[in-house]
Symmetry: C2
Subunit: 328 residues, 2 copies
C-alpha cells in the first residue's frame, strides 16, 4: 500500500505565499500574500534572494498562525538548489527541529505527507511545511546561467520565483488532510532537461491511478485534481496516460504550472519549480478551500529527479509525484 | 518537544553494509558485509560507482530480509550529491514508494526517525532506510576534483566510500528503535569547508543535551553514545561543549568517523560522509547489538549543511544532528 490514511486528519491552520513580479502579474497573482516588486529582494545573488523568499514565507506563516516559534515542533522543507541550501539557510533562523527533504518539485506534497504523519500519529503538535524556487537560481543550477543568454526551446517551462509555507496542526480550524499517496520513481526515458512535463507525466499517472485503486475513489469524487507543474504539454500527456488506464480526469484536472502565469508564448509550457505547487496551493487553493468554494481536492506535486551531472552523464530523467487529499 | 517516543518500537529486522577497499582495511572492515576491491565497481564515473554502491546495499539488505520488493512500502534515502542523485537512481530500480531526504551526513538518522514514525504509527509495515557516500564524488562536489591534486589540510576528514541500508518493520526480530530526537540547525560560525567536525559539534551538543533533558536519561544509561562523523577534532569539541552544559560523555562516546579507519596521518581527522554512520551502524554496531554485546546505544549522525555555492558566497557552515536510541 502506498496510500496512507489519517485518522485524525491534520488541520492546515494557516498558509502563506510569496511570489515575484511575474507571478503576481499572473492569473492567481491577486491571491498571493506577499507580492514582490523586486525578485532580488535587495540581495546580491539569486541564491540569497531565494533564501529570503522562503524565510519570508515561513515568518509570515508563523506570524499569521498566532503561534510562536516555541509552539513549532519541526520544519519540513526543501528546494531545488544543491544540498537544499535555501531550505537550510531559511530554517537556520528558527530554533525548531529541521527535517530536510528533496523530491525536486514534488517536495511540497512530500512535506505535507510526512508532516501529516508526524501530526496524525501524535508525535508532534505543530509542524511547518514549505518549499521555494527562483527562476534565476534554477536556470543556473539545472540549465545555463542567465548571463549566457541562451534561447529557450518551446517545450521548456518557466521556474516560479516564489514560495509557499503552511502549518499543520493537531487542532484548530482549516482544511484537513485526509490521506496521502506516496509516489514511486517512474522513468519515462525522457533525456531532454528542457522537457520536464513529459519526464514527470508517467510518474503522475502512476500515483494517480494508485490513489484511485487504493482509496476506491474516482476522479468525480474530487472538485479538482491538481498536478504540480506538468505544464501544458505534460498535462496533456498525463490526461492521455490516465485515460489509457481507464480513468478520465479531463473534467477535474488543473495544473499549477498552467495556472500560475497568464500563459502566452513567452511562458512556454507554463510554470515549474518546487515553489510552483506550494505558492499556488498556499494562495489560491487554500483561500478557496477556506471559503468552501472547493470541498475536496487532490494536490499532486510532480518532480523531475535530475541533476546537472546526471544530465551531462547522459542519464534519462526519472519522475515522481506524491498526492495529498485535502478537504474542507 | 523534539524527542519522539515510539510506543511500538519499530524493529530493525536486517541491515547490510558495503565499503570500499580503504574502509574494509580499517578497524571495522571485518564487519562490513560487501567488501569492494575496486571503488569504481567497473563504472566510468565516480557518481555511477556511488549509485552502484547504494543499490548493492539496498538489494543485499532486501535479499537477506527474506522479504520481497512488494513487501516494502517505501524507501527513505539520501546522499551528499546534488539533488541526492545517488539515492534517486539507486531507488529507480525498485517499484516502491520513495521519500528523498537530505540533511547531509545526518541523513541516516533522519531516515531512521521518519521511517520509525511511519512504522510505529501503523502507516506502513516495512520501510528501507539507507545513505551512501563516495570519497571521489564528494571531493568533486564539495571541494576540488581529485584530478587537481590539491593538498589536504590537517583538519580535513576522509569521506567514506560506502553505504548502509536497513529495513524497519512492525514485527520481527532485531534491535528496536525506542525514541528519536530531531535536530535543529546550529551555526557555530565555522567557514572552513575542510573543518566539518568543528562545524557540526555544536549541533551535536544541542541534540544530545536536548535528548537527555527530554528523556530524563543520562549518558550512563547508554552503553555507547555514537556520533556520526565528527572526527577526532570534532569529537573533542563535542565532549568539551557537552561537559560545559553539565554532562560528561567521555566514558560512552565513540565516533563512527574515528572508528572507521585505522587513523594515521593520511586519514587526517578520520572518516566522514553520509555513508560513514550508515555503513558503521549497519556493520559493526548492528552485529554487536544482535549479539547483545551492546544493549542500548544512541546513534547520532551529524551533518554539515553547506553547498559549494554557499561556501563560495562566504556563508558559514550550519550543522545538524538527529539522535536515535536503539536497544536490543
Amino acid at each position: 500500500m502506498r496510500t496512507i490514511f489519517f485518522k485524525n486528519k491534520p488541520v492546515i491552520i494557516c498558509a502563506k505565499s510569496i511570489g515575484g513580479p511575474k507571478e503576481c502579474a499572473g492569473d492567481i497573482g491577486e491571491f498571493i500574500d506577499v507580492k514582490l516588486k523586486d525578485d532580488m529582494l535587495g540581495e546580491q545573488t539569486f541564491e540569497k534572494a531565494e533564501r529570503q523568499i522562503l524565510y519570508t514565507a515561513f515568518s509570515e506563516c508563523l506570524k499569521s498562525s498566532g503561534k510562536t516559534e516555541n509552539d513549532l515542533d519541526a520544519i519540513l522543507a526543501g528546494d531545488l538548489l544543491d544540498q537544499i541550501i535555501t531550505a537550510t539557510f531559511a530554517t537556520r533562523n528558527f530554533k525548531t527541529g529541521f527535517l530536510g527533504l528533496y523530491n525536486a518539485c514534488a517536495t511540497f506534497t512530500e512535506s505535507l505527507t510526512l508532516g501529516s504523519v508526524l501530526i496524525d500519529g501524535g508525535y508532534m503538535n505543530n509542524v511547518m511545511c514549505g518549499t521555494s524556487s527562483h527562476f534565476s537560481s534554477a536556470e543556473r543550477q539545472y540549465r545555463y546561467p542567465l548571463e549566457l543568454g541562451c534561447t529557450r526551446p518551446p517545450q521548456s517551462q518557466w521556474t516560479v520565483t516564489g514560495a509557499g509555507a503552511c502549518i499543520l496542526s493537531n487542532k484548530g480550524e482549516g482544511p484537513k488532510i485526509v490521506c496521502s499517496t506516496v509516489g514511486r520513481i517512474v522513468d519515462f526515458g525522457v533525456t531532454d532537461a528542457n522537457n520536464m512535463g513529459a519526464a514527470m507525466a508517467a510518474a503522475a499517472c502512476d500515483t494517480l491511478v494508485t490513489h484511485f485503486k487504493e482509496t476506491g475513489l474516482s476522479p468525480s469524487d474530487y472538485d479538482l485534481i491538481i498536478s504540480g507543474d506538468l505544464g501544458t504539454l505534460g498535462s496533456r500527456i498525463l490526461k492521455d496516460l490516465t485515460w489509457e488506464k481507464g480513468w478520465d480526469i479531463e473534467a477535474q484536472h488543473v495544473d499549477c504550472g498552467e495556472m500560475v502565469y497568464h500563459i502566452d508564448e513567452k511562458d512556454y509550457q507554463g510554470g515549474s519549480g518546487a515553489g510552483c505547487s506550494s505558492m499556488t496551493f498556499c494562495s489560491y487553493f487554500y483561500k478557496r478551500l477556506k471559503e468552501k468554494k472547493f470541498k475536496k481536492i487532490l494536490l499532486m506535486a510532480t518532480g523531475a529527479l535530475l541533476s546537472s551531472v546526471s544530465s551531462q552523464q547522459g542519464e534519462s530523467i526519472p519522475g515522481i509525484a506524491h498526492a495529498v487529499s485535502v478537504e474542507c
